[in-house]
């Protein structure tokens, strides 16, 4: 095994993504059209719970769509190449970091378009953005591992959704609760407990993903 530095691997992920701009553009169009469809369907949302729920459902589908690509494009030949050249821990961490950056950006984009088309209801903006950031990092940790598992199994996208939805559920519930607090404009002291849990979930998810990926690595 030839050891390649972590930064090199992350750079590789970006290079691959930007070389094929069609996937990024596809995600962009996906976000805009989903938000636009929901804006057309709902016209105006007055209930903050509905507003929040709709946002998280849209975001959930976007993240699953995005992250399913991260391992599904690793073909058999590429897999052998990766196995020879890279350290498994570096490999999964680079995937997670790349997904984190991508998803944090996408979550902000989604939030921007959603607020524009459907109307914003958030009263405590700082907390909402913080919640978005930590949720997207935790999502990317879970989904990177799930994508790796799905790609080893049978390479289909439906398996990815089946595997990810149940394990994402605790995360989504915490995020929904925290973001609801932010929408209602509650004080920081009320929601601090949930923010702490979200951060701790981040650590748990990423630690587990890096530990367990070693065993998926060998074929």
């Amino acid at each position: 095994m030839i050891s390649v530095p972590l930064t090199h691997l992350i750079k590789k992920e970006f290079l691959i993504e930007f070389r094929q701009k069609s996937t990024l553009a596809g995600i962009f169009v996906y976000i805009i059209s989903t938000v636009f469809v929901s804006a057309l369907c709902f016209k105006k949302i007055i209930n903050p719970t509905v507003w929040n729920a709709l946002f998280w459902v849209i975001f959930l589908f976007i993240t699953i769509n995005v992250s399913s690509k991260s391992f599904l494009q690793e073909t058999k030949g590429k897999g052998l190449f990766n196995y020879i050249y890279y350290n498994p821990r570096h490999f999964i961490i680079s995937k997670i970091i790349y997904n984190m950056l991508l998803m944090a950006t996408l979550s902000l984009l989604t939030f921007f378009f959603y607020s524009w088309f459907v109307g914003s209801m958030v009263q405590n903006m700082g907390m909402y953005l913080l919640c978005l950031l930590f949720s997207s990092t935790a999502f990317s940790g879970v989904l990177s591992l799930m994508s790796a598992i799905a790609s080893k199994a049978s390479n289909n996208i439906s398996l990815m959704a089946i595997l990810s939805f149940p394990v994402l559920m605790p995360l989504i519930l915490v995020s929904v609760k925290l973001s609801k607090f932010a929408i209602d404009g509650l004080a920081w002291s009320v929601s601090f407990k949930y923010l702490l849990i979200l951060v701790m979930l981040n650590f748990v998810v990423i630690a587990l993903a890096t530990l367990l990926f070693n065993y998926l690595w060998k074929d």
């Binding site: 591992l145 598992i149 394990v167 587990l208």
Partner: protein, 220 residues
């Protein structure tokens, strides 16, 4: 040769069924006689969680030792655990109908947790069935099993403690400990927990041996 713990498990469950319906229980509003459900509903959930724990234990063993017997045990324990969720749900639904007035509610974090736990293990079996190669299946299923177990525990152990639950003992509802859980209830409750866990181990033992025999038949 029949092992002593199997007999003990059967006897304990028999004892909880007979004595659980006869001993005196605290008289409480709303709960009334349904308090006896604590002898059946709660131990069955404990047995389910125990089996999920066994499943993860063998998943870890599979990853470290890489032997297929651990994988079979891990798979079968998850099946037994999922099986135990059915009587757990049924007794819970019946109890909820008489105390909360509804079969199911989305308000309660424990109920949601159980629904997710069932979904997680269904996903686990789907994952297993989608991989044909035995060694590969064992490894990938073990990875998913460990990850899913941790997330499930976050869901059913940590999150319910943050919010109010409708279950007795949570969020201002009547606790059993307040109403002498120590004396009368405990004489049946603890044996019931041990009894159901032993029973689940017995089922696991039978299922494991059946799978081994089936494999042997397959090879011949």
């Amino acid at each position: 040769m029949i092992k002593w713990w199997k007999i003990l498990g059967a006897l304990l469950i028999l004892y909880t069924i007979v004595w659980g319906l006869q001993n005196s229980v605290p008289r409480l509003d709303i709960l009334n006689e349904t308090i006896r459900n604590v002898y059946y509903h709660v131990p069955i959930w404990f047995a389910m969680l125990f089996q999920m724990g066994v499943s993860v234990w063998f998943a870890i063993k599979q990853l470290s030792k890489n032997d297929l017997k651990s994988d079979i045990l891990s798979d079968q324990a998850a099946q037994v655990g999922l099986f135990f969720s059915i009587p757990g749900l049924l007794t819970g639904c019946m109890w909820a109908k008489f105390t909360w007035g509804t079969w199911w509610t989305f308000e309660d974090p424990k109920l949601n947790g159980v629904a997710i736990a069932v979904l997680i293990y269904l996903a686990y079996f789907i994952l297993r069935s989608s991989i044909i190669d035995e060694l590969k299946r064992a490894r990938i299923a073990a990875v998913y099993n460990i990850f899913a177990f941790v997330m499930m525990n976050v869901f059913i152990m940590i999150l319910p403690r943050l919010t109010d639950s409708l279950h007795p003992g949570n969020g201002g509802n009547a606790k059993f400990a307040q109403y002498d859980m120590d004396s009368n209830l405990r004489t049946v409750f603890y044996p019931a927990v041990i009894g159901w866990i032993l029973m689940s181990l017995w089922i696991l033992d039978i299922k494991y041996r059946m799978t081994l025999l089936k494999q042997k038949q397959h090879e011949d």
